[in-house]
């Protein structure tokens, strides 16, 4: 038997003329490998960068955020910590209207009022650079560059926040941990914290966050600090105390999810590439019938034959995968640019050797498995073919139940399962992964098969000959119609889904804004300010749409059990669960996590501690309906007030119909009974509430108002906002048309980033199409020659080919369009809960692009069919 070296040598020499072609087939997997390498490396880079920058992200080792100002006991704790070498620095964060008196421009902004020395870690950079160090010296303000544009202001201008005036010292360049996109939602401004009282904006009951950053000495762990001081720092107010690792793990989770989703896309791309490889190698195998027959005559065994061609495929697969790795590394460098606005850290791009090796190995393995599937048939080529040649399809007829081929099929399935399992942390997720991949390919395959079947059925004898012949070409022996439709369809599917989602979200936003009769909302309006604002609205002849009272409150008790007790029980349960994970001995001491005081299911800490901003009214609005119980009984004056809860909020509180809830409204306890549960459409632009009270219970409580106004033109909106802010600086307002613009900007940026990956999947169709066209080249050539000898002109042959590729492209595009419409509908229906309307134009453009691509590649690859004279082509056979 031949030695391995000799076999390799023979394989290498024999591949001489086919190398370029094989490499083309193998390039089908390059894009999949590139996607995997890019995605894996990128998420590794992001997680590492987040880890490296976690303290800069937080600004300190630990951050304590309270919903209420500091108290004496907190101050004395902070003093004693500082004395023991744990310094801290504070900031106060709130929303306010910013007004530029010179231009009259107004805009709702996020104010960060910081004390000197803020933050401990991470640099806030500004333009000019010295602005940050000079911030604390006077009434200075540093703003987002976008704010200056919106307010038509410049450096040196005065900005009014509430009752205080500030001089614009500079603009922000970068803030650690800040996601670029957040500036679009509410531009940030930085002022010295000592001037907050002057603004008069942070008073009792206003929504503000009081943050304190701690810097720990090396011997004090953040987790220890949090556990030890959390309770004393918060004192039962809403808020949280978290170490730098908190952000890290939260971001890591988010990146993990993104990574999972993209990895499914990458693996599907790789497997479709594998199918492309199989198509191409099938064509390659057809061309190898003659040499195999000769080799068999010369004494080659079936295994030697298989080995020779498998070696060729493996080498080319390795090169194809390596090309993918190089491409993937390139994409990895581009990804931070595309996703810049969504990442809280500066991603430092480094080569990730593990991701690279894995990508290479997976690529070679997939290339090998999928190319061996057609190659095993070469084992069965009879040496008799050297004496008397059968047609290709007959010579290469694979046995129906070739055990090797069945083994390969199992190996492919097992590999997909293994890839799924190895990429997920749990078996369950791994199986979910595999099912997702299999379902994606399965559905694509089925639709491709169904459409191909349908195309064959609709042929009519009355149609022109080139068209009929073109359709018939899709079914010639050895056709790769389904593989091509699959690859093309996948790209259109991903791209189309993206457009469907974008289109529908924007459309529903437009729809809701159209339905909302108001286009400006004033909130935080005090009772005393209401008549004045009303008169401004009337004076401007604007339409007053609605005035909604808002009463801030907290939950005091559920069915008589104080919320503090329920929270303490949740904490105890959580600790015993954590102990249970640490070791079985401690677990025995733990108690059940459910059924704490007050009963109910698993409760959410957040909702029990939060501040509710509730309203009272006697009617339901259009954006809500009752799902359980009944609306308020008019004229009823019992001992208990009545309250209607949002269903999901009730579930999170662990509250049922007829439970009693006691609310703390600025020190006054108000007992209520839950008389109804409502389902609320939160997406609508009218004010919605978790808890709505009957009209009598809260009438005497201290309250604020939200005032909804309709102003006729954008200029009217600007004037109205300016007039109100000038007279009532503490009142905030929101221009709903601006919200719409912001959302569409944000969506535009999100889709830009995702489209980048979708484009890769679109490009996947190219090598697969090339391979598939090459697969039927010999049949095509033979057929073209025959038609020419029968009198067909080159022009006719070209029209036949055109018909064929237009059809292939159409079938692929149609598969993608149908599937993207379905998935768009499903996403809208179940995830975004928005009514679906198909995005016809953008998806149509994607489909047309795909059809043009198919025609261009087809004509390019098949040009020799109509260019050659019959004689030349006949000699080739």
């Amino acid at each position: 038997m031949a030695g391995t070296r000799q076999l390799f040598g023979l394989a290498w020499r024999e591949s001489r003329t086919a190398r370029r072609r094989l490499l083309l087939y193998m390039s089908s997997i390059s894009l999949g490998v590139a996607a995997l390498v890019a995605i894996d490396s990128f998420s590794e880079n992001v997680i590492r960068s987040v880890h490296d920058q976690s303290r800069a992200l937080l600004g300190g080792d630990v951050a304590a955020t309270r919903n209420a100002p500091s108290t004496k006991s907190v101050d004395s704790l902070v003093d004693s910590l500082s004395a023991r070498g744990i310094p801290s620095v504070t900031s106060t964060n709130f929303m306010s209207m910013a007004l530029v008196p010179r231009t009259g421009g107004t805009r709702l902004v996020q104010v960060k009022a910081v004390a000197p020395g803020y933050p401990f870690f991470g640099d806030i950079t500004t333009e000019p650079a010295r602005a940050w160090s000079e911030l604390q010296s006077e009434h200075n303000i540093i703003v987002d560059p976008s704010l200056l544009v919106t307010l038509n202001a410049q450096i040196g201008d005065t900005i009014v926040l509430g009752g205080a005036k500030f001089a614009v010292r500079g603009t922000l360049l970068s803030v650690p941990g800040d996601v670029g996109i957040s500036a679009a939602i509410g531009p940030r401004v930085y002022i010295p914290e000592k001037y907050v009282p002057e603004t008069g904006l942070v008073v009792f009951g206003s929504r503000a966050e009081f943050e304190r950053l701690f810097k720990l000495p090396a011997n004090v762990g953040a987790d220890f600090f949090v556990a030890r001081f959390q309770r004393r720092l918060l004192q039962g107010t809403g808020g949280n105390v978290r170490g730098a690792g908190y952000n890290e793990s939260r971001l890591a989770n988010a990146i993990d999810q993104l990574h999972d989703y993209l990895a499914v896309v990458g693996l599907v791309a790789l497997l479709l590439g594998g199918i492309g490889v199989a198509s191409g190698v099938h064509a390659f195998a057809m061309r190898k019938i003659d040499p195999v027959a000769i080799l068999r005559c010369l004494g080659a065994s079936s295994w030697q034959v298989l080995a020779i061609y498998t070696v060729q495929a493996a080498i080319m697969g390795l090169i194809g995968a390596a090309a993918g790795v190089v491409l993937g590394i390139g994409i990895q460098f581009l990804m931070p640019l595309a996703l810049h606005d969504f990442l809280p850290v500066d991603v430092e791009v480094q080569l990730a050797p593990q991701a690279i090796l894995l990508g290479l190995a997976v690529g070679v393995w997939v290339a090998l498995l999928f190319s061996m599937r057609p190659l095993v048939a070469l084992r069965r080529v009879s040496p008799l073919q050297a004496l008397r040649r059968d047609p290709d399809a007959q010579a290469l007829r694979a046995a129906r139940y070739d055990p090797l081929r069945i083994t390969l099929d199992f190996a492919i399935a097992a590999s997909v399962l293994y890839l799924g399992l190895s990429r997920a942390n749990t078996v369950q997720r791994g199986i979910g992964f595999t099912v997702a991949i299999a379902a994606a390919i399965g559905i694509l395959w089925l639709s491709a098969a169904a459409l191909s079947w349908a195309a064959r059925r609709i042929i009519r004898p009355s149609w022109p000959f080139p068209l009929r012949q073109g359709i018939a070409s899709l079914y010639r022996p050895g056709n790769q119609t389904r593989a091509v439709v699959l690859a093309l369809g996948f790209g259109v599917f991903l791209m189309g889904t993206l457009y469907q989602v974008q289109h529908n979200i924007l459309r529903s936003l437009d729809l809701r804004l159209g339905q909302a009769r108001a286009n400006v909302v004033f909130f935080d309006v005090q009772q005393s300010q209401r008549p004045g604002i009303d008169s401004i609205i009337r004076a401007g002849r604007h339409e007053l749409v609605d005035e909604t009272p808002i009463v801030p409150m907290r939950l005091a008790s559920i069915n008589g059990t104080p919320v503090t007790d329920i929270l303490a029980q949740i904490d105890r349960d959580r600790m015993s669960r954590a102990a249970g994970r640490a070791g079985p001995d401690e677990a025995r001491g733990g108690r059940g996590s459910r059924g704490g005081p007050g009963g109910g299911g698993r409760r959410n800490r957040g909702i029990l501690r939060r501040e509710f901003r509730s309203t009272y009214r006697d009617t339901l609005t259009e954006s809500e309906h009752i799902v359980a119980g009944h609306w308020f009984t008019p004229g009823r004056h019992g001992a208990l007030g009545e309250v209607s809860l949002d269903t999901s909020a009730a579930a999170e509180m662990g509250v049922k119909l007829n439970d009693t809830l006691t609310w703390n409204v600025q020190g006054v306890l108000i007992p209520t009974v839950v008389t109804s549960l409502r389902e609320v459409k939160w997406q609508s632009f009218s004010p919605n509430f978790f808890a709505v009270f009957d009209p009598t219970s809260l009438a005497k409580a201290p309250q604020q108002f939200a005032i909804l106004v309709h102003a006729a033109t954008p200029a009217d909106i600007a004037h109205l906002q300016r007039d109100v802010v000038a007279n009532y600086p503490s009142v905030s307002s929101l221009d709903l048309t601006l919200v719409q613009k912001t959302v569409s900007d944000v969506l535009g940026k999100v889709t830009m980033a995702v489209r980048f990956l979708a484009l890769i999947s679109l490009a996947l169709g190219v090598p697969v199409l090339f391979s598939a066209v090459a697969a039927t080249r010999r049949e095509r050539l033979r057929e073209g020659v025959l038609l020419k000898t029968l009198g067909a002109t080159r022009h006719q042959i070209m029209r036949i080919m055109l018909a064929e590729y237009v059809l292939l492209g159409t079938l692929g595009a149609l598969t993608g369009v149908v599937l993207s419409t379905l998935s768009g509908w499903a996403l809208m229906h179940w995830v975004f809960r928005v009514e679906f309307s198909p995005a016809v134009v953008p998806v149509g453009i994607v489909a047309l692009a795909m059809i043009s691509l198919a025609v261009a590649i087809g004509l390019l690859t098949g040009r020799d069919v109509f260019a050659e004279t019959p004689m030349v082509a006949l000699r080739e056979n």
């Binding site: 038997m1 040598g9 023979l10 040499p291 027959a293 010369l298 008799l384 050297a386």
Partner: protein
């Protein structure tokens, strides 16, 4: 010694059975030069396929030096072909991606023999192509290609060489030189040569002619060359 014993080959298509060879028997001693002749469709190529171990008979046996081809599986026959059988085809059947010398090396490499290149060079020089070693098949004339094929057929020092219409694609002068080369090699190496042809002039240069018609042996005669 090659022995064919009551060889029959039938093809079945649906209900019908087509008998291409019927009870063909003969034995050919080592070192002979035999021509198998007959009109088109008489079963020549089928017989060649069977006695060369490329195909299996419906009935009957083929023994090459007492080894029974018909009781072997495809890979066992391939091994035996690699050891004892050489082929020359009408259409040369060179592997187009390999050079002349590489084509000749193939049988030796398949058997894992060392010194394949030296042996291939020696053979190509013997057939007069010492200056064409690195040419690809398309760069050679038909006669040259057939000489490469003959060199390849002799690479593994076969006990028996099958030539299927070896001059069919060549002009008569070139064809004549090819047959002369085969005769010389037959004498030098004592290799049995079995020539399949429908050309009477070519057949007359063999020592023995087996004539086929309609799947049967109709005559088996020695020629003047036998002496």
């Amino acid at each position: 010694m090659l022995v064919a014993r009551e060889l029959s080959k039938e093809y079945r298509s649906g209900e019908n059975t087509l008998a291409v060879l019927r009870d063909v028997s003969f034995s050919i001693p080592q070192g002979s030069f035999v021509a198998i002749v007959g009109p088109s469709g008489s079963g020549k190529t089928t017989l060649l396929g069977l006695i060369a171990g490329l195909d299996t008979p419906t009935r009957g046996k083929v023994l090459l030096d007492d080894a029974d081809f018909s009781s072997m599986d495809e890979d066992q026959r391939a091994r035996l072909r690699g050891e004892k059988v050489g082929f020359v085809f009408q259409s040369f059947q060179l592997i187009s991606t390999l050079t002349a010398i590489e084509n000749v090396q193939v049988p030796l490499e398949l058997r894992g023999e060392s010194g394949a290149a030296a042996r291939a060079r020696e053979l190509l020089t013997r057939v007069g192509l010492g200056d064409r070693l690195d040419h690809f098949p398309t760069q050679l004339s038909g006669g040259e290609q057939q000489r490469v094929a003959i060199a390849r057929a002799f690479a593994n020092r076969p006990r028996i060489l099958f030539a299927d219409e070896p001059t069919g694609n060549l002009d008569s002068e070139t064809g004549s030189r090819i047959v002369q080369l085969l005769e010389e090699l037959n004498r030098e190496s004592k290799t049995t040569i079995i020539l399949v042809t429908h050309d009477p002039a070519l057949a007359s240069r063999a020592q023995r002619i087996i004539r086929l018609s309609d799947g049967r042996v109709v005559s088996d005669t020695e020629t003047e060359q036998a002496a």
